[in-house]
Symmetry: C3
Subunit: 292 residues, 3 copies
């Protein structure tokens, strides 16, 4: 595996291998990298958890991180992403982790670039390391995907996570449903109310509502959204035994989810963050080993 660009590019077997390796690393297995590698994190959009998670994973796996400030680089002078990445390759980098607002930005890097590219989010496209950590969180909980009922609620059409996760979960045999206002369902067929999905779901995965996109629209006031589509404390009480709550974060407390539920017993929200470090260690190791 040279690059990790989209969850749709990797097979169920490759997914299983990465989840298994993350589990070994979480149990304390040492890094399998036995030479030095240099990587950089190019985040052209704000990020706390994904960037910091990669920074931590890189250090735990023993690679050297070369700092790169996107807000202060030659891209300000109009340099293309190809030329920036080719420059980093010439400087000696083995891999770059990129988040960029342009959908499928990586297509201009497929030819002529020899270093490895790990996609940390492209526009409204994919976010494969997030999907893998979501899968890892579900696998740790249930030990399987087949037959699980998973409901994804929120702004599906603008969510990288919804797309990547739904694709992977379905191909692994889970039943995936969506709950959201009709305007937000995008390419998917969504339920416009929770109905009995609350009681039948093994996993309720909430998405961040991006207020800035919907300001001035009364139907989407925070209170209205929370009452109709959010995970209220009443709805949580109807969830079945052993069912869990997930959210890619950052959370809008009181909008997608009642603030008191963020760290409740069912919540795996901060566990997802912890799991993300091991998943990213496994991704980096797998890709860099392929370069030896």
């Amino acid at each position: 595996m040279k690059n990790l660009l989209s969850i749709e590019h990797i097979s169920n077997e490759q997914i299983a291998t990465i989840l298994n390796r993350a589990s070994e690393l979480e149990a304390g297995a040492p890094s399998q990298l036995d030479q030095s590698y240099n990587v950089a994190n190019l985040f052209f959009e704000p990020s706390t958890r994904t960037k910091t998670s990669f920074e931590m994973a890189e250090r735990k796996i023993g690679v050297t991180v070369i700092p790169f400030e996107t807000g202060f680089s030659s891209t300000l002078k109009g340099e293309s992403l190809y030329d920036t990445v080719k420059t980093l390759e010439s400087i000696g980098l083995d891999a770059v982790v990129i988040r960029h607002k342009m959908d499928a930005y990586y297509e201009e890097l497929l030819e002529g670039i020899n270093l490895s590219v790990i996609n940390a989010g492209d526009g409204a496209g994919q976010h494969p390391s997030q999907s893998l950590l979501d899968l890892y969180t579900i696998q740790k909980e249930f030990g399987r995907f087949k037959g699980l009922n998973i409901t994804i609620a929120g702004d599906v059409s603008h969510s990288r996570v919804a797309k990547s996760d739904a694709y992977a979960l379905r191909s692994l045999g889970a039943n995936v449903n969506f709950v959201c206002p009709k305007e937000w369902q995008g390419e998917f067929e969504a339920h416009q109310s929770w109905d009995d999905l609350i009681e039948t779901s093994d996993v309720i995965m909430l998405l961040r509502v991006q207020h800035e996109r919907h300001e001035g629209n009364a139907n989407f006031s925070k209170e209205n959204y929370h009452a109709q589509y959010g995970l209220t404390s009443e709805r949580e009480k109807q969830m079945k035994d052993g069912a869990i709550i997930m959210h890619p974060a950052p959370v809008n407390r009181g909008v997608e989810i009642d603030s008191t539920l963020v760290e409740c017993e069912r919540s795996r929200i901060f566990d997802q963050v912890s799991n993300g470090v091991f998943i990213r260690m496994a991704i980096l190791e797998t890709i860099l080993k392929g370069r030896m």
Copy 2:
């Protein structure tokens, strides 16, 4: 000691222990940390010396620093400080150093957060690592605090340093006086002129005048301030034998202090910076050892 939030939270014995350990580290004692720790520096306000000093101290004490750009994080998306710090804890950080413009920002971190918090300045509140380095500088010079005459001059009401230092110095037995315009004395009783304080002080500690707060007010023109409240070269000549000059910096040359005095024989301004690295090594070591 789990956190370092305010100089008022630590006893005179704890202060003595930290100053003593800084002294050992300055003399070349090796780090007592025998496992790996991960820390991050979250500076939500500009800083050169405090941030760089922590960055250096962290490397000298042998901890791993995970970079975190506050200007490019999810706090831009409105995430609470609690959720940001809980995320960093979930990623595996053992401690965070935080500077934030909100007074006592750390109160929302006292419950539910397990990592250690080191306060590097909260609003107009406290700046305990600066106080400790000031104490260390004075102790190296005089070997004691009891009976020393210490005069703090400048914008006392807006100064974290004035508050932290005055509290600690008084509790250690020093006599602390203030010199400043009446408008700036805040909660303290200040002298409105130097009078005989110039000749009786063992330590003259100058504070930065924040011009941006006082623009357009003729009483506080740079020249007027320097003449009435600044350390002019004439005043320096009246200081007693062995008396020293301190300043937390950055210095406004020609305002708080005549430019030629910044590196004069009495000045400990750049020594304070050097001392700060050893104090922060001692703080980090003390707090992280407590986590073992």
Copy 3:
């Protein structure tokens, strides 16, 4: 050698020593530094390749890099460069790499500062590490400088590279010509057309056109510039056997150079980037060894 400020400050012998050491390092020679050193990179102007190149070189040579965000430092509060650098020296830094928009900013650092300063570009002044990597690229290609015909084309008057390179190349015995619009020749005597320089040049070195300086001037539209002064694919075909193309980058594709030539056989544009890392390793090693 305590500092590296301008190519004009170092002798041809010192240049030869640095190029030779870069060559050894490129061949895999280990770092000659046998104690730990701390450096910081102070880039007050945007940069991708120079900053990242220094970051990589520093890690490959085994020095500790203390991060310093210029956009978030006390220089925002008006602190002088002298006071900032003196602070970094007091914190324990051995060397700083500085890029700054002010010509000869380093003059205020010549007295009173003990750490080493490496100039990574001062205003419209010098950029000595770029010159050294250009010289290294030429030497690797031709094994000599004497008698080589080198043509520099572009906005000569605003280019640090043009000035540094022309000075060094001439002092090493090369023939240097310039091609550019008369308005851009600055202190040099330039040709206003390529004439037979295309066919006689061993090296054609293109400079970045800074559109932002020339907007609204039809003579300097991108198309006009490319046709009159750019390296078109037609002109490339007239270049002599073994002649090479250089560019300090970032490149304006289709302006200074036809986009298809950026990675053509003659182009050494990305090789320059690779060479820069070894040159900077040699510079850092030479300067830090001098501090032992």
